[in-house]
Amino acid sequence: MEILVCVKRVPDTAENEIEVMSDGSDIERDDLVYSVNEWDNYAVEEAIQIRDKVGGSVTVVTVGDDESEEVLRREMAMGADNGVLLTDDAFEDSDGQGVASLLKAEIEKGSYDLILTGALADDGAGQVGGMLAAMLDLPYASLVNTIEVVDDKRLKVGREIEGGNQEMNEIQLPCVLSIQSGINEPRYVGIRGIRKVASVEIPEKGAADLGVDAATVGAAGAKVKRLDYFTPEMGEGAEMLEGDMDEILDKVVELLKAKGGLK
């Protein structure tokens, strides 16, 4: 099975406090730790496991700048066979449909049976997979948390729905799936793995290579424009206990007793 996984480089919320710049034009990006979007990493692991079972190849693709290459290399160190970087000044500030149309252009240059995305990203909207499927006229399932290959024409996929329940579907190949976190246990990538793929050539493609009209993507083509960032109102907010830890602990015990939190 020929599998393409769409990945993205994002600030790692587990490692960073995200602060808004004073003029609201962006978040403070100096000193941010970036990594591959967590959901995308699950998608790559799933693709590798499927390839190892039924054969084929895994290609990882991203829309980004030069620095995005590092996430492609990381996913190749995990076991993806190929990487492609879609990069062009014209792609900057694309909205979801802009990103999806770039991915569509790349996908149509190849021949893929299965296209995976992460279900969402911390700086995103959980939209690119569904848009991409509609643009390619392929069937789609979101929030997928199990995949079983039935034969070379069909998959059985589980979708995570409300209440911890799972919605089972049969879906025809080729298709697009967005992958929910927890579907598998992504393998550890060691420094040796990274070193092995350090010199592998990763092709870069711009608007001309993809045959995309630059006016339809990037800020020029965006139907949704981010105007500013701001820090949400705290509202009432919690009463913050401050000061000496021992006193805080006494206070917590007192509160727990008063509210029925201790038996």
Binding site: I18, Q97, G126, N169, E185, A238
Partner: protein, 321 residues
Amino acid sequence: MAQIFAYIAHKGGVADDSALELLSAAEKIDAGAEVTALVVGDGADLDAVAAEMAASYKVVWKVAKAELAYPNAELVRQALVGLLPADAVVLISHDTFGMDLGPGLAVKMGATFVSDVVDIEGSDGTGLKVVRQEYSGMVSTHNLAEMGSGLVLNPRPGVFAPDEAKAAGGEVVDKSSDVGDLSAKRKFLEIVEAEAGDVDITKSDVLVSIGRGIEDEDNIELAEELAEAMGAVVSCSRPIVDAKWLEKSRQVGTSGQTVKPKVYMALGISGSFQHLGGIKGNPYMIAVNKNPKAPIFQVADVGIEADILEFIPELTEKIGG
């Protein structure tokens, strides 16, 4: 102003809680709009939901088709694309169905799409200004969405106060014959119900709930010791289950369990809306997080900025001693 539609999710003949929230959201787009409810499905259940919605919506478009008895997003999309005017504004709740339907529907309508909208600040006729959140709610953004060629908007469940007036006296219009044959390459098979775990967290009055801040599987023990000292039960947020450190049945949230405790200790939990969506009954909430910007502090009663790996054992000792 374009016509506004609200897609009504329903199950077992009853509309989802989001149904009246979407009406409020629509009123924030255009206060004077005659909002149309889209009620799609089949049989007596569908009729019941259509009648229920006519109390709140001026117009209810009903689409009855055997293929739509279960809401398969691909089939629903086909039905809607054939039915809706080109410049329609469509509201769909940002739940697991809305996430399945919204992005593809927007593409097929040639419309703009905005997901997970938490506020609507009005329109100038060509664009709609909406608020979204990024980075697990740590920052918000204003966004301007084009409206000229249609707009699909997924409002976040629970943030728009439901319009309970029920004074619409609306009419139900049967649009079934305007929808042609439907066929999908994805077929719904069945719902697999969540498995029961070793402990039922929904039955506990006191929950010691842990999140990403626990950092390592070995540290779960710290939470278990605290819970034992308190006479409480350990629950968790999604990352703990994703990491397979605790069973799925321990997860609090819209994709896990809905709990209704008296006291909720949120330890190292950032407080995503999916997590908070699983906490009902307004429990007394104590939140501990080393990030002072964590959204959990907006909803907790009491907050402590601390590393839970230091805080938990100290609290256990304090209670024990």
